[in-house]
């Protein structure tokens, strides 16, 4: 029996989890800073790291209590050491070091993106264990900050086949949602209004970038903006900073549903087609998706329709940042004896490979 305490503080969520044997979620606590950010008007790195300091002890204690696990039952402490905000990462890493050192158990530093890869290994105590994931497989990580196609040869052995060259897919969702005053987070908002829209209404550009498996969503974002602009000339405010746009509360006479549906289809088309090409090229056993945008229903459905192999997606609450996935990734490193030294430092621009 291996129980790992995992800690994740790479951005603005303070998270801790206890994971058993790399798969079973005994507890998964995420303290969101949304209320604080609402007060300040956004995520401020300095505020975020101070809030991590205030919250982290309670979050860790909650994780242990919920898991009915004592300190002496832990096998290792895992922590995200990058990529992320330097001040936020430091809180998690220093806490993890202190705990591991005082408990006399190994410290395991984990890459945040590696965590997302392993979100597909997790299940709750009530769920049955899923069939083992076979290698090589392909994982599409799509979130606000990342869009990457990762070939997983084996545990700990990854190859990045493609990634965004400008904006992440989730960022495009968020910015398009803001253009039309649909609120935040943009992904669910777009998905909701798109239900009423015609995905063929606007033929938005799909950046293929030749045979490359890289992605580009910046041009799509701008193309949507021009259409929104054309319909909403009276409200030049939409172009400006969201603060100005929010104050102006423009009444937009624009076909929101059609634009949302067409935009969503353009993003999903590109994600799905490139993932399929990569899956065939590398003859993978299955396809995984992870990250906030992997909660999108159209993406999941389209991918399953064309994949010709199993497609796995994490439970919705495991798509966004959490510590459970960090514990899942750490288990395989624990098994292999890949422990971190006590001088583990945070690396804000840490690469997966």
């Amino acid at each position: 029996m291996c129980k790992i305490l995992a800690i994740e503080t790479s951005c603005d969520e303070t998270a801790a989890a206890v994971i058993e044997n790399g798969k079973t979620i005994k507890s998964n606590i995420v303290a969101s800073q949304i209320e604080i950010h609402r007060r300040y008007g956004g995520v401020f790195p300095e505020v975020a790291s101070r809030q991590h300091i205030l919250t982290i002890s309670t979050v860790i204690q909650d994780a242990l209590i919920k898991a009915r696990t004592g300190w002496n039952e832990l096998s290792a402490v895992a922590v995200t050491y990058g990529p992320g905000l330097v001040g936020s990462l430091l809180v998690g890493v220093n806490t993890a070091k202190g705990l591991a050192l005082s408990l006399g158990i190994p410290l395991i530093g984990i890459n945040h993106l590696e965590g997302h890869l392993y979100s597909n290994w997790l299940h709750t105590e009530r769920e049955e264990s899923k069939a083992d994931i076979k290698f090589p497989n392909l994982c599409l990580i799509v979130s606000g900050g990342h869009t990457e196609l990762v070939l997983m040869h084996d545990h700990g052995s990854y190859e990045i086949l493609g990634q965004t060259i400008d904006d992440a897919a989730g960022e495009a969702f968020d910015k398009v949602a803001r253009m039309m005053n649909l609120g935040f987070p943009g992904g669910p908002a777009i998905q909701e209004v798109a239900k009423e829209g015609n995905p063929q209404a606007h033929n938005f550009p799909r950046a293929r970038l030749g045979n490359s498996l890289d992605f580009s969503f910046s041009g799509l974002k701008t193309a949507v903006l021009r259409v929104v602009q054309k319909h909403g000339k009276s409200s030049a405010k939409i172009l400006q900073h969201p603060a100005a746009a929010a104050q102006a509360k423009p009444k937009l006479n624009i076909p929101v549903a059609d634009i949302a549906a067409s935009f969503q289809m353009a993003v999903v088309d590109v994600l799905v087609s490139k993932t399929k090409v990569a899956a065939d090229k590398y003859n993978v056993t299955e396809i995984l998706v992870a990250g906030g945008v992997s909660a999108n229903a159209l993406l999941r459905n389209k991918l399953m329709a064309v994949a010709e192999r199993p497609v796995r997606a994490p439970a919705i609450h495991l798509c966004t940042d959490n510590a459970a996935m960090i514990g899942a990734a750490a288990y395989w490193r624990y098994q292999a004896g890949h422990f971190s030294d006590w001088d583990l430092d945070v690396i804000p621009n840490l690469k997966l490979v």
Binding site: G42, P45, E46, D167, H241, A246
Partner: protein, 164 residues
């Protein structure tokens, strides 16, 4: 559109993303430790494209992508580069709560998108890059230096870019 005839500013039109990238690279090659570049422009005017060019000029080999969600991307070039995006901030940005000083007074180069959110906390010397959408591929670019360091830097940039 009447040209801005302020003596120290540079006002010109970039005709393509490629040109924008080259101009950014030239600016980047001139940057020194603790320099701050403030990028101002609406959505889709090419702020990230400028940063990609500047980073090339700083010999960054990492992939340079939008930090809208991550807030700060760090790169290693011939100098450390801090690529910051204030788009998601709607409250007043005071330097303390963002921690901007930690980056700006470091020995790296700080590139700030949507910098109009934080003009009050910028140091005495910095360069503003203003971007305006003209057509699908054309952008008006205004470089506005603050402080003697950047007035001189812009003179060199002008000479290297436009002197025949």
């Amino acid at each position: 559109m009447s040209p801005i005839l302020e003596p120290n500013t540079l006002d010109f039109i970039s005709h393509s993303e490629l040109q924008t990238h080259r101009l950014g690279a030239r600016l980047g090659s001139l940057l020194e430790p603790s320099d701050v570049i403030a990028l101002v422009g609406e959505l889709g005017t090419g702020k990230t494209r400028w940063v990609q060019g500047i980073c090339q000029g700083l010999t960054v080999t990492d992939r340079v992508i939008s930090p809208t969600f991550t807030l700060v991307n760090e790169y290693d070039g011939r100098l450390p580069v801090y690529h910051i995006d204030l788009y998601r901030l709607t409250g007043a940005v005071d330097g303390m709560s963002f921690g901007l000083e930690d980056y700006m007074y470091d020995s790296g180069v700080t590139l700030i998108e949507w910098a109009d959110r934080a003009m009050d906390v910028l140091p005495d010397a910095y360069m503003v890059v203003e971007l305006y959408h003209l057509s699908e591929t054309r952008r008006r670019v205004v470089l506005r230096p603050y402080g003697s360091r950047f007035v001189n830097l812009l003179k060199v940039f002008k000479k290297r870019t436009f002197a025949r």
